[in-house]
Symmetry: C2
Subunit: 215 residues, 2 copies
DNA sequence: ACGTGTTCGTTAGAAGTTATAACCAAGCAG
DNA sequence: CTGCTTGGTTATAACTTCTAACGAACACGT
């Protein structure tokens, strides 16, 4: 392990502390949710008192934004490496579910209820479109003959979000419903709305995935 | 308007104040989300100072639970009256969407990210199953020939959640995917994940609904 | 090797929050 | 009219985020 050594010890220390802060923050979020994240508690767990933490993050919101960014980054990386390993759309779906179950609050931090005023910084929407690009590729690789719907026509005129991806409207449509259906089952499962209903959420998930791939 | 007059003026006043508290609480939630609901702010808006509010709700959580209950109640009532007016599954879907867009935070309060520890009291799950019953009825009314899936077989053995509804497994399955798909599109729309993508969420919603009804 | 200046941590404090305790006034009943 | 229940008040405790002021430790240029 050599180089990238233009790091002063000060900078090394700083990034390490920032990492530990995020570490502890994730622990809190995992057990109590993002709304219960307390900077004070994080600071005390690390062993420094309260306001010291503001040397590393300007505000609670900035820390949370960083966590959201990391979560997106993690999902994008996971999907990209799965895709590079030859995963098809079905495999990607299971990859997403596995990633979500690994840390439900991390998924919910991204796709859960946002605070009404919040606007993600630009680089985050960039990662989000990286994810979308992977999904679009996987959908495009799937040769399928869906009848053209009115919404397909609408998408032909509104494809900015595809970021120049050359897929035909039907593929764009497929990527969207892949997203919404996966999220529909997954978010209800993670939010606990299936608990006590008796059936196995995993089976519902794969059943829904099968339907998506069938038609 | 007569009777049910076994109400003492004290009780009348009490229920009226409780109603106003909820009123103001909804206003706050609608603009800033449930996590930003402040009992103090609500109390001041009503004109009484802070702790007076604890005569009416034992805690912030109790107030929020009551709001969740009211939200469920409102959705169930809306669906029931729509159903009574002859609405089919498609109409119910649009009813749900209309209800959600009317006050997005109200929908998200029910189906959004929960706090990890939270368990809804029994009477709320009761309302929830009332909603499910309406959906099951609407799905049962729709004669459809879906090929039996493995998940259908699983549902045949795990139908407790249907609360004794006599629908066959395929109908149970249809009700579930109706729920998850509607929620998938709707929650992403309400959370703002479609903003800036260019297409019209309403068209995606109806397209997804059409697919659901087609197969 | 020695100032100097940036950085990091501390404590103090302001302005919030939920929630409890103690107290007082007003309403309702015997 | 006496008293009890109820609804409001203020004071306080224990939190929260976040700013300010100060001190110490470190890195760097001379």
């Amino acid at each position: 392990m050599a180089e990238t050594d233009t790091e002063t010890p000060r900078e090394r220390y700083r990034t390490q502390v920032r990492a530990e802060i995020k570490e502890r923050a994730w622990e809190q979020i995992a057990t109590a949710g993002a709304s219960a994240l307390s900077l004070n508690a994080v600071a005390k767990q690390i062993g420094m008192s309260g306001p010291a933490l503001y040397r590393y993050y300007a505000s609670r919101d900035e820390l949370i934004t960083e966590l959201i960014r990391d979560a997106y980054r993690s999902l994008a990386d996971t999907l990209r490496s799965a895709s590079a390993a030859g995963a098809d759309l079905a495999a990607l779906a299971h990859t997403i579910r596995g990633w979500a179950l690994e840390d439900p609050q991390r998924y919910l931090l991204i796709y859960g209820t946002p605070v009404p005023g919040y606007h993600a910084p630009g680089d985050i929407t960039l990662i989000s479109s990286e994810i979308m690009a992977i999904l679009l590729d996987a959908c495009a690789a799937l040769a399928q003959d869906s009848p053209a719907t009115p919404f397909d026509a609408h998408l032909a005129d509104h494809r900015e979000w595809a970021n120049g991806h050359p897929a035909p409207p039907a593929v764009l449509h497929r990527a969207l419903i892949f997203w919404t259906r996966i999220h529909g089952v997954l978010s209800l499962e993670l939010a606990g709305h299936f608990t006590g209903m008796g059936f196995d959420p995993a089976l519902l998930f794969t059943a829904e995935l099968d339907r998506l791939l069938a038609h």
